[in-house]
Each structure stands twice: as structure tokens, then as C-alpha cells.
């Protein structure tokens, strides 16, 4: 068997060196942590204190065909805060074969895809969040013409290393209307999507076995202006919490998102309105609301500014699209908006001399005003005046003072519902109001050396009170850096220092980073999707190799 494998690999190597259309490539990624006890945090490391998430991916392309395999290992256990289904396992996570020509693109195996905004359907992978909700089955994209294309999918969704038993099917269509209207300056396209889930209901006719979502959208783009609209309705379905069906009634769901943009050189404005009412869709109806973001079909990230610093990342918003009906709290979803404004001062102006750029962001998210009746039905407004969950205002000012020195000044004013930030019922615990100020400076020496320093402070009278933070990073070259950081919660009675020290090396195809220190417990959000990380202390190692 060994000799046979060697022969195959030898033949592969012959082929790759001789022909141009062949390609073998892939990557290896390893994220590990070694936990240790920390009395100040009341953190006792678990017995198996070495945790590691590893991914090995290899692809083989030849002519019109491409294929790949991804092997994953979570030995001895997955990192803290990751989906426990992965603990102690190592298996092939996914594989696929794809063939395409100018019109058709066919994939068999595990695939990723997104319809429109992703609101109705998104299958994606994000290793930092521990998400991989790919579908195993068949995906066909077909381009009928320059104007019209269709995507169809069919399969079962990945859940850990298993597949959920429900079958998922979907169609997404996209029609570009430019040719029909002879637009010169305008690009207009429309689209429609369908996603259906068939999940066995064990002959309980009160639970629908077939549930579908239908969506429509249009996108208008003119160079300076853009307008996007997407609306989705989901069939009446049960609602569930922690693996148990919650009510005798069925509820339908809706999602609506409108985006407006205006920009020209030096100025950009973008604004989004979104309303989600009982809008979430899982490949297992009982997986609703699971904290590991697993088994999702719909994609409903928080639409707020992604924060960049230690202290601005403490009070972050997590989207609340669910319908929750129980004695402790009743809510039906969320509604709100976010606006971004970017401006670069003209080079000839006073501020332009220092290459001043400003960015302003504002967002507001609240419950949809609803009235819940004793029979578990509810009346709901389009927006109304529901409990405020989150409001923030951000201002960022960047300056380049000379060829070597530049600064960034960031200010944040945030109000967040305690239930959203800390857990527990929403709308009844009161708010946390905080202000954060950050000053960052970077100084560039010669030969790729540079220094970066950050000072930040958080003011709040609630929760754990005030914090101060410091970061210093030194780049020895474009490949190597070291840093030291501390977030000191001096306002709380424990006065804990969340210190961290480490470095990274990155050259060509390799990236290695190592750090040691205390991790603050809370939400780690990447791209609006959050993962709860328990407080911990230890060493973290990340390695990424590409070939």
C-alpha cells in the first residue's frame, strides 16, 4: 500500500513539473493554547490544559477540475469556548470536487455559498469563531447570459464532523437589467432566493416538516449613489430555546434591509436600516439560539462598527433577531440602523497638510415595539419605540505629521443594555454607559523598523467601572515584531491587570505568533459574529503555513 501511494505521489510530481495547468496547493494552520491556573482571576485550568485547533487543507487543480480535502484535528481538545462537539476528534472535515466551464460551475461535496446579503442563506467558514456550516451535497451555478445567472443547492449541513439529518435546498437568481433599459450611468440588478428545509417531525403534525424562506432584492448603483434593498419572509415555524420547543404556536419571520450610499473622491457616506422579526433559520429547529453559532442557515451579524482596541472591545453588540416568549422576557426581534461617514481633507487645506482623515460612525439598535398576549400571540409595530439595546457614536481622526510619524485618535460613546453585554433578560436590567478615548502613535525608523504605542481609557460608572490600557509594539523588521500590553481594570475592587506579551514572525509563506498573558472574559467578535470566551490565562501559539 505504501509503495502504491509513493508511486501516485511520484506521478503527481512528474505531472506538476511538466504541465502548466496542474496545481497542488494548500495550507496548514494551527491555533493552540496552554492554560495555567491564575488565582487573581479565580481561573483554574482544566486538567487537559493543552488545547489545539488544527486545519490541514490540500487542493489539486487540473484543467477545468479542482478538488480539495480539509483535515481537522482538535486534539487533545478544542480551544476554550469552541463547540464541544469537536473535543478530542480528528477527522476529514470536508472535501469537494468542482468542474467548471464558461457557463456552468458544478461542485460535489462540501461547499460554501451565499445568497444576496447572506441574510437568507450563508454557508461559510471562520476558524477564529469556530464556524463551519458548509453544506454537503451538490451546488450548480449556471450563467445563462451576461444578464442572468442561477445557483441551485441541495444537501445536508455540517454539524461538527457529522451532518444534520434535515435536507436543505435552495435557488438563487440574479438578473442584471442594464441591457433591457440601456442604462449608461446606472447599474440595476434584481434577485430572488428560495431556501427550504425538510426536517422530520416524527409524525407530529403540529410541527411543520417543510419550512421555507423566500427573498427578493434589488441593487442600484450609479458610481456616486447606491441603493440596495432586500426583504425575506420565512414560513411559520416553531420557536425553540436550549434544545426545547417553546410554544404551541407557529410564528413566521421577516427580515428587511435597506442600504444607501453616496460617495465621491474624498467623501463617503453609507447608511443601513435593518429590521429582523423572529428571523433565524437553523438546519435543526432545536438548535435555535445555540451560543456556538452552529447549524445556521441565515446570517444575521450585528451591524455596528468593528472596534480595534483592547478597551473599545469590551462593550460590543450582538444581534438579537429572535422571538423569545417566556415568563422572564418577551421580545420579537430587533430594528435599527447604522451610518458611516468618511472624509479626507483636501491636500491644500490646513488640515490636509497633515493628511487628516476622519471617520464617524453611529448606530442604534432596539427591540421592535411589541405587545404580547396571554395566548402567546403578539402584535407588533413596524418600528415603534421598543427597548433600546445599543447606541454608539464613534469618531476617529487620523493624521500623518511627517514622513515618519502618524497618529490616530479614537473616541467612543456607548450605551448598551446589561442583558446584551452581560447576559440575562433584555430590556429590564438597565444600561451600561461608557466612554472610551484612545490615542495611537506610530513612528517609522529606517530599514523596516518602527514603534507603535497606544494609550486608552474607559470611563463608566456601571459594571466593572474604569479601565486604562497601554500597548507598545516594536517592529525589528518587516517580518518580526514584539509587543507588550496591559489592560488594567483599576476601577473595580479586584484591580486586575490583563497583561499580555508576545510577538510574531511573518515571512513569505509562513506566519508564527506567540503570546502569553491574561485574556479578559467576554465576547470576541469578528465581522459582527461573536463568540463568548471565558476568562483564561496561558500561552497562545498560532502557526500558518501556505504551500
Amino acid at each position: 500500500m505504501n509503495r502504491f501511494l509513493l508511486l501516485i505521489v511520484f506521478l503527481f510530481s512528474l505531472i506538476t513539473t511538466s504541465q502548466n495547468t496542474e496545481n497542488i496547493f494548500g495550507s496548514f494552520e494551527s491555533n493552540s493554547q496552554l492554560l495555567q491556573d491564575d488565582n487573581a482571576l479565580n481561573f483554574t485550568s482544566p486538567e487537559d490544559n493543552f488545547r489545539s485547533n488544527n486545519y490541514f487543507q490540500i487542493n489539486y487543480d487540473i484543467g477545468k477540475f479542482s478538488s480539495g480535502i480539509q483535515y481537522e484535528s482538535y486534539l487533545p481538545n478544542a480551544m476554550l469556548g469552541y463547540y464541544p462537539e469537536y473535543d478530542g476528534k480528528n477527522e476529514i472535515g470536508s472535501y469537494f470536487i468542482n468542474v467548471k466551464n464558461e457557463k456552468a460551475d458544478l461542485t460535489l461535496g462540501y461547499f460554501y455559498e451565499q445568497f444576496g446579503n447572506g441574510l437568507i442563506f450563508r454557508a461559510w467558514e471562520n476558524r477564529q469563531l469556530g464556524i463551519n456550516n458548509s453544506i454537503k451535497g451538490i451546488k450548480l451555478n449556471y450563467t445563462f447570459s451576461d444578464s442572468f445567472s442561477l445557483t441551485t443547492i441541495y444537501g445536508q449541513q455540517r454539524n461538527g464532523f457529522e451532518l444534520n439529518e434535515a435536507t436543505i435546498q435552495g435557488i438563487d437568481s440574479n438578473l442584471n437589467l442594464n441591457k433591457f433599459f440601456n442604462f449608461e450611468e446606472l447599474d440595476l440588478s434584481i434577485g430572488a432566493s428560495y431556501i427550504g428545509r425538510y426536517q422530520n417531525n416524527s409524525a407530529n403534525t403540529l410541527i411543520p416538516a417543510n419550512v421555507k424562506s423566500l427573498g427578493g432584492r434589488f441593487n442600484l448603483y450609479s458610481g456616486k449613489f447606491s441603493l440596495n434593498f432586500e426583504a425575506i419572509i420565512k414560513d411559520a415555524d416553531v420557536i425553540a430555546n436550549e434544545g426545547v420547543i417553546q410554544s404551541n404556536k407557529l410564528y413566521d419571520g421577516t427580515a428587511l434591509q435597506v442600504d444607501f450610499g453616496y460617495s465621491k473622491k474624498g467623501l463617503g457616506l453609507s447608511s443601513t436600516f435593518r429590521r429582523l422579526e423572529n428571523f433565524n433559520f437553523y438546519s435543526d429547529r432545536l438548535a435555535e439560539g445555540n451560543i456556538y453559532n452552529q447549524q445556521t442557515i441565515s446570517y444575521t451579524p450585528a451591524l455596528t462598527k468593528q472596534q480595534d482596541y483592547l478597551l473599545t472591545n469590551i462593550y460590543v453588540y450582538n444581534a438579537q433577531p429572535r422571538l423569545v416568549i417566556n415568563p422572564l422576557e418577551n421580545r420579537s426581534g430587533e430594528v435599527g440602523s447604522q451610518t458611516d461617514f468618511y472624509y479626507t481633507f483636501n491636500k491644500k487645506s490646513f488640515l490636509g497638510k497633515y493628511k487628516t482623515k476622519i471617520a464617524v460612525n453611529f448606530s442604534y439598535w432596539a427591540a421592535i415595539e411589541s405587545n404580547f398576549n396571554p395566548d402567546e400571540s403578539y402584535d407588533v409595530e413596524f418600528i415603534g419605540n421598543g427597548n433600546r439595546y445599543y447606541r454608539d457614536i464613534n469618531l476617529e481622526l487620523k493624521n500623518r505629521w511627517n514622513k515618519r510619524f502618524n497618529t490616530t485618535l479614537t473616541m467612543l460613546d456607548v450605551v448598551i443594555d446589561k442583558g446584551v453585554a452581560l447576559g440575562g433578560p433584555l430590556g429590564v436590567q438597565g444600561d451600561i454607559k461608557a466612554k472610551v478615548g484612545v490615542i495611537e502613535g506610530t513612528y517609522r525608523y529606517d530599514n523596516g523598523k518602527s514603534s507603535r504605542a497606544v494609550i486608552q481609557h474607559l470611563w463608566t460608572k456601571q459594571d466593572k467601572k474604569n479601565w486604562v490600557g497601554l500597548v507598545y509594539e516594536y517592529n525589528f523588521s518587516t517580518s518580526l515584531n514584539l509587543f507588550i500590553a496591559d489592560g488594567w481594570n483599576y476601577g473595580s475592587s479586584d484591580k486586575i491587570h490583563y497583561y499580555n506579551v508576545g510577538g510574531s514572525y511573518s515571512k513569505n509563506n509562513t506566519r508564527l505568533s506567540l503570546n502569553y498573558g491574561r485574556q479578559r472574559g467576554g465576547l470576541i467578535c469578528v465581522g459582527g459574529v461573536c463568540r463568548y470566551v471565558p476568562e483564561n490565562t496561558g500561552i497562545n501559539l498560532n502557526l500558518n503555513l501556505v504551500f
Binding site: 490540500i58 463617503g268 453609507s270 462598527k305 517609522r444 500558518n544
Partner: protein, 159 residues
């Protein structure tokens, strides 16, 4: 397990010889049209491909830094920079506003479901590549002040 290791080590040694090429993917530009990623560096064209996102601070620093020299450098060497946004639906609507608000002159491509990012094995961004005739001749991940000059030195070598 031993078999897997043998196969992996052999493939590694084989692939050291095989140069990395860009995958065969179509990305969209801001008005929705599709562009084949392989077409940007064909016929001896030099292309810089930089993966970024509106929420990635070092990515924005890198693109801001390059934008100060972009016009000047393009006069010296004929190349184009393709800033590939890996923003997903959460932040994609912000891309046009940010690109214009910051006065960037780059070609903007959209990789909204991370297909290009996945094929390049990029676990983190920013990731910047220099590509010529579809071969990846330089690759750098992360940003530290001054790395843009190393990038231009490599571009000049390809002239």
C-alpha cells in the same frame, strides 16, 4: 497516521518546486460585474493583490500608506493594485464609502464569501501579493510601518 505523514512530507517536498499561482476565480467589482482574477496579471502585467476589510485596522493602514506613493510609483513602474475586500454582507456596503472617503485610487474587487481568501490559505489579513503572469512572486502577511517600501522594491525588480 504514518501513511498520512509520509504523503504530506512528499507533497511538501514536491510543491517546494511548484510555484504558487492564483486560483481560477471570478470576483465582482462595485457595480456587480465579474472579473476573472487570472486576467489581472496576464500578458506580463504586474499586479499587486491586497486582501483587506473595512474593519481591519492594519489593512487600512497599509492601503493608506501605499496611497501616498501610488501615483508616483505607477509612473516609475507600470503596475496596478487590486484591493480585494473580504468584507461580508455585514460591512460590504461600507466599502464604497470608505474607499472614496479615504481617496484611494485602487481597483476594488469584492470577495464576499471569502473564496479567494480561502484558496490562498490566508488565515489573517492583510495579505499582499505581487503577481505576474498569474504566478505569485511575493507574499507578505501583516502590516508594519515601512513594509510598503519593501513592496515597491520587489515591484521594481519585476520591471
Amino acid at each position: 497516521m504514518k501513511k498520512l505523514i509520509t504523503v504530506i512530507t512528499i507533497i511538501f517536498s514536491v510543491s517546494v518546486n511548484s510555484q504558487s499561482v492564483l486560483p481560477d476565480l471570478n470576483l465582482t467589482i462595485l457595480n456587480g460585474e465579474e472579473v476573472s482574477i487570472r486576467s489581472i496579471s496576464s500578458d506580463d502585467k504586474i499586479a499587486v493583490v491586497s486582501l483587506w476589510a473595512t474593519w481591519c485596522v492594519p489593512c487600512i493602514k497599509e492601503l493608506d500608506a501605499i496611497s501616498e506613493y501610488y501615483e508616483e510609483w505607477k509612473e516609475e513602474v507600470d503596475f496596478e493594485l487590486y484591493a480585494v475586500s473580504t468584507d461580508d454582507s455585514r460591512t460590504i456596503k461600507r466599502v464604497n464609502a470608505m474607499v472614496n472617503g479615504k481617496g484611494w485610487e485602487y481597483n476594488i474587487l469584492l470577495d464576499t464569501n471569502n473564496e479567494l481568501q480561502r484558496s490562498l490559505g490566508a488565515s489573517t489579513i492583510p495579505l499582499t501579493l505581487i503577481v505576474k503572469n498569474n504566478k505569485i512572486v511575493y507574499r507578505h502577511s501583516g502590516y508594519s510601518s515601512g513594509v510598503e517600501f519593501e513592496l515597491f522594491d520587489k515591484i521594481k525588480e519585476l520591471k
